[in-house]
Subunit: 502 residues, 3 copies
């Protein structure tokens, strides 16, 4: 092994010499400001400096990036202003950018810097991505959760402190630290700048602004500069790598639990198997991304985001950071699958019963907030164009016929559970909507939530991606059926033990 | 990194020149028919064309394959007929083979092709594998499920639509789409050829035959040509790679859920740890497969399928596609672990109580359908020969002593759960066998099923492969014990709330 | 692909010639005794011989290892005695070492060997690691489990055989084989040497000593020579690789179940994502381990064990095999999170209620057995030094503020469940502590155990490492809340059906 490494090492030296000989410009320079940063930070936070040094940002200047033909560019700006274009993208280029727009800017060794680099900063070179992302449900993940009264109930019963005393359960609200650590860890926190504090550092005493609800890299984070989201949710600091974002492990950070088992389903799908089995032979870095050549099965990014082409350069799908561009249906997080919402912020969606849900409690979509059939068809066609990279039309249509069916059957099974919980409310065996109480905190109510939040979702994901057992025994149809039977019995047990409430 | 790639690229060119220089025939040619296919399909389904181009099929002709010494061959045919032998194995060689034997054959741009390439086609070059596979339980996974009346009950209560009305649960049957999407996704569907339909394609209007229950790559698929199974269940289209099939992620497609957690258990076993940790250094392609040199811990394939040799070429285990050749016990899918069935189609196995189970409800094996002790001993010895590649006899015997014990203890724990559900039936607290009703649809019955289908199985797999926690807290003994306690209480709750049915 | 391999092959030959030419000593020699072992064992257990040949042990002698500068050494001995130092570390060097100290030594083809190589043997070259490990909770994992009466109850109700008859559940004790296969598989068994038996081998009849509770590689194994632990728990036979031990899959062998979901949480953390995504580019073998250069996100080993340095050679954390050196809190396995125990053997810890728990049933720590605040602060600082490799102080402090909070909230939720189970005992709805009966075998009691053993733990791990959903829906706060609600209802169901016991 060490013999091999040695030869490889020699080869690299040789090739780099060749590179110089033929006059190839291999890298732009690091700016003076960034060099100053690195001077201290290679000692203070050496890991992220080294990490950045391995990044594309550390090797290529925006100007060089703009020399590529359009389809191969990583940056969407037509032009990058002034000096920024000429050096590589280092510490200073991001953390000192537009200081006046960042409430958290502070004096640091002669520079004015801000801690929270935001999408507004990234937009300097990547404006299309930032604009698209803002239309994304994820960009509003904070507002859509926190401002939805029904979800607020759910946050309280999940995160809040319960108290058992005198044979009774009572509920206390949750606290900001727990919420930041729980739901908002993925959804994003509201980051606010506080007072300056003095800290003892390796370089002596220094002042830093405090940040509340920090650290956080949630997808809908509210940044001090008023922007939303965090590009580093998926493009992790400080390599900000396209490779990592294209691998399925990135999405798995938030999309693996029973409420949204996308990653688990993918792992046992044919696509996921091929990805894991062939990972080391794939090229996750190429832009655009060539089906069959760079990869031979899709990852999350392939279907939902990437610019995918064939070997002739024919575009199968345009790159998008509005990840629902290829998604007609929204299949998780709500009682019933339904057409995608029109607006990213869903907190103002209300059904007839006054619940902030995009469907009635009986499943009918609240259409005025949702995309129409024409838009659904368009999105479906966009997705199918990706599938057609490898699959015949009959294969693709056959797949989506099953998908349409699973929406119908899982919605049916949610409806039955809804009828049972409604019966419990009617008889006063639990206190929920009719009583004007939290509808998602007693045991029978939590079973109702699991019917859709866990089992319905899992079944739909399994159909969507082909991870069979997640549609059967692994939180799939088996659990849908079993949960319903148990709810049915539970109602009787409650009846036998609990005097009806007036 | 790009420097390295450049040198590697040059090296490849150089080496290929060398290859020619020394007169090494590096690849056979692509047939004219296949070239015609590729002409269009590199535009229509570019991904699978490129995928195939990376396959061994695209590089080596059967005739070249036959030049290898026998133990190193990937093909088991002694002779491959006529022209087929001389070109690489492309689109035409499979999709145009024996057109008259394929009901689904249709005219396509001047060729007669069939969509569903079946094991009968693959048998042209791989007859031994196809023959062995046919004796496999997996080959009959469709029949053994669908034709077994007890399983039919389970399919209905899992996939069927439940209805809650007037305080009662009722059941509707399932539908073909849901079954294809659920159980049959792994077990295989019954694919039938329907009418020709006209479709608008990139090349103009064309006619294609419709296929029902399609797409599907289940292991026991009924193909239009009368053959069973789908080689691409494990050797995924269109690389049909031995490497992918040997990696554990392939088996995980169907063997990961709570009903058959083989993949999960393997992942936390010592073997699975070493495989994941060392994956990039292994050679998954060599035939035969040399223990210690090509790999240093077994994958699923190593123990159940592969030709395993040592560095002296000594054969530890012969290749087999009859995966129970090394398995005396069947440990999952049924209430009690039992000796393997003799025949692949198990749907005709009946016990004294009339249930289509290979054991009585009390656990005694229904011996006439099961292999005898001599056959069990033979299979055990075949498996132990694989173990002996790395382990001493005492280690191996110690391992299997625990395995014998876990069969005894998990069967005992199933028996207790069976006594409880039988008590429920006797008292009319649930309606099952004595009432001639579905024995697996009410809550207490589903808990009984989970006792063996989830918890007993998980515990046995954990012992078999050493993924400890799957035998304790992760659906193992802890759940066996807890489920039993809960069933015991549940019976009392039912008694308190449900008037006994006559 | 084959072209590339060919060139690489040529390159290796060429480079090795170069190696010889420049007089580089490439490897020490194999001892004569080891050569004799290999003579037979390359046929009898070829896999482990080949595996060892790929190890560092097979290539470097202790004397060569000692030539490295101290920080780069893999061995901690100042001096390795006599002949042992001069040859590579082969079969004989370990299996024949100090024969008289190993009760299991036996005559084998003219040599006196022992089967169970123990930490006492490894200490010849790695004394610091063995000494540190002995202070570890893991080293006493056998004693701390088996000698703790409360855990003994839990072992019995998990592993023991339950019996349902005449409407009653009764319990039988467990058996040694099941315990070895279950809890003790990770915790370690008590390995004892028995009689010599004669076995038929490929080399004729031979005598071997029998070993009870074997095979086992549990972390607290009691070895025949009186030592505890098994280095091969993490450094798997026969490569004993630092690379494998540093990968997270090794820890996952025992730390993945619902009782200790560290591995699952890590997999969905940012750190785990980067590790999986970048695995092939990391150098897991360097000693010391350079942050940013060798790896750009921590694995389990980075935070809990490894010598971590920056590119300037500055040490961020000293290597330790006492894995709680960086851990102030113990967050799993017990009802309440609490300061780490002082002694590795925790079986003698007793609270006021007579339970062998490090906290009272109400959560107050039993301080005299636990580390004090000063020691907690020291350990916290040691851990934070690792974090500071990549994170600013504010980031790190913000992280641990959430960690302090989750200890408080999960302990609160355990307390509520404890109040419910205590109520059940008080009313005689279950028989536990007040009745002097097994407190962890009835359904309501098992639900109490899951409140802390599964849900509290999972939530804390999620905060500690950032795998969000394990703190919410994946056995996290959602389950804490739901379990509590169900326990509350369960009490009422029990009351309605079970006549209070006197």
């Amino acid at each position: 092994m060490s013999c091999v490494s040695k030869v490889m090492g020699m080869a690299v030296v040789f090739s780099c010499l060749l590179g110089s000989f033929f006059g190839v410009a291999l890298a732009a320079e690091v700016s003076g400001d960034t060099e100053t940063c690195i001077g201290c930070h290679s000692m203070v936070t050496p890991g992220i400096v080294a990490d950045w040094q391995n990044s594309r940002h550390a090797k290529v200047s925006p100007a060089e990036g703009l020399q590529k033909e359009k389809i191969a560019r990583r940056i969407s700006a037509e032009k990058v202003p002034g000096e920024l274009a000429e050096t590589v993208v280092g510490c200073a280029e991001c953390h000192m950018l537009d200081a006046d727009k960042h409430p958290g800017s502070f004096e640091h060794n002669g520079f004015t810097i801000h801690t929270v680099v935001s999408p507004a900063d990234c937009a300097t070179c990547h404006p299309t991505e930032v604009t698209e992302y803002a239309d994304n449900l994820m960009a509003q993940a904070y507002a859509s959760l926190v401002n939805n009264p029904t979800y607020a109930h759910m946050i309280k019963s999940t995160n809040g402190m319960h108290e058992y005393a005198d044979g009774m359960m009572t509920f206390h609200g949750s606290d900001p630290l727990t919420e930041a650590d729980s739901c908002l860890s993925c959804h994003g926190t509201d980051v606010k700048v506080g007072e300056l504090v003095t800290r003892e550092t390796a370089m002596g005493e220094m002042e830093f602004p405090t940040l509340s609800n920090w650290p956080n890299i949630g997808v809908g984070r509210l940044n001090p500069d008023g922007s939303v989201g965090s590009c580093s949710s998926c493009h992790m600091r400080h390599q900000f790598s396209i490779e990592v974002a294209r691998k399925p492990y990135t999405c798995a950070q938030c999309h693996k639990g029973p409420d949204v088992p996308a990653s688990k389903v993918y792992a046992v799908s044919v696509h996921g198997n091929i990805q894991k089995s062939s990972d080391k032979d794939w090229n996750y870095k190429e832009v655009p991304w060539t089906v069959g050549k760079d990869f031979n099965a899709p990852t999350c990014a392939t279907c939902h985001a990437s610019e995918v082409v064939d070997e002739n350069g024919e575009v199968l799908a345009k790159r998008t950071h509005r990840f629902n561009d290829r998604l007609p249906w929204r299949i998780f997080g709500l009682p019933y699958a339904h057409p995608h919402p029109i607006a990213a912020d869903t907190s103002n969606i209300v059904n007839k019963a006054g619940l902030h849900f995009p469907t009635e409690l009986t499943g009918e979509p609240v259409s005025k907030f949702l995309i129409d059939q024409a838009e659904m068809d368009k999105r479906q066609a966009t997705m199918e164009a990706v599938c057609s990279g490898c699959h015949s039309e009959q294969w693709v249509k056959g797949h989506f016929t099953k998908f349409d069916k699973v929406i119908e059957t899982t919605n049916h099974m949610t409806l039955q559970a809804t009828k049972i919980v409604a019966q419990a409310w009617e008889e006063g065996l639990a206190e929920g909507l009719p009583q004007g109480k939290n509808p998602v905190n007693e045991a029978i109510e939590l079973k109702w939530v699991e019917q859709w939040l866990f089992f319905g979702n899992s079944t739909r994901f399994a159909t969507a991606m082909g991870g069979t057992d997640y549609g059967v025994f692994a939180n799939g149809r088996w659990y849908q059926a079993k949960n319903l039977q148990e709810m049915h019995d539970y109602l009787k047990f409650l009846r036998a033990t609990k005097p009806p409430v007036k």
